[in-house]
Amino acid sequence: MSAIAYSLAVFVLLSAVATALFRDVLSAIVVFAAYSLGMAILYTYLLAPDVAMTEAAIGAGVTTILLLLTIARTTRPSAEEVFERVDVPAVVVVGAFVLVLATLLPDMYAVGTQDAPIWGQGVLSETPTVHYVQEAYAETHAHNAVSAVLASYRGFDTFGEAVVVFAAGIAVLLVLKREVFA
């Protein structure tokens, strides 16, 4: 039943194009929120509920609000016309980029197949994925394999990520020092 996936892809594509072309930044942010919605459904359909949840909470919620606050603090271009003019040289460059990438397409594994190397066929019979899926519960007593990997197997990584987020908070406070501590 990939009808959902195809229609979602169309939806996501439409909203991405609209985001790129809207001249009014506020409208672009609103459309970007719609894009985020579509993306979260796609993640859900691709069996990544944790990611979909995070995308929902952070992508649709927090990013939108931070963008809004920024344009509230700076400026919102007055829009005489709704859409921006398409920048032809940029389209050519981007088109070339996409074409080069697209030549890779036939060599990629089909979406959802278990022939991909990540699933440990052939030489690599014991990949991390296979190990996590088979042993995670026995080793960590956590049903959610994502949490098990996040907090246990890759705990050090998560620690680094937490520190990055912490540093980002400090960086924002430093950059906006004059405004915040005025």
Binding site: M1, S7, V30, G38, I41, L47, P49, A60, L68
Partner: protein, 93 residues
């Protein structure tokens, strides 16, 4: 007996909801005011909640309902936040 058929019904309905969302995208693109776009995105958000709930039954993953619940909350937050910001720099600031 009806289990598989039922799953197909739900997935089909979800696909139709996505199609409706694409149709709704006309309003998002056409505007004309920011409120119109916001309104359309709000309807999209409600549709998203429904689609997620349908996927939860269709794919037999009840945990997807959690995502739907989060979305129901965030949709509301987005609506009040953006609708505030369309009025004199949000008024709150």
């Amino acid at each position: 007996m009806n289990g598989e058929l039922l799953a197909d019904v739900f997935l089909g309905a979800a696909a139709l909801f996505v199609v409706l969302a694409i149709v709704l995208f006309y309003r998002v693109a056409a505007g004309p005011t920011t409120q119109d776009r916001l309104l359309a995105v709000n309807v999209l958000g409600t549709n998203t909640v429904v689609i997620l709930a349908l996927l939860a039954v269709g794919l037999d993953e009840t945990s997807f309902l959690d995502i739907a619940l989060i979305y129901a909350l965030l949709n509301f937050l987005m609506a009040i936040a953006i609708s505030k910001f369309t009025v004199e720099r949000g008024g709150v600031l």
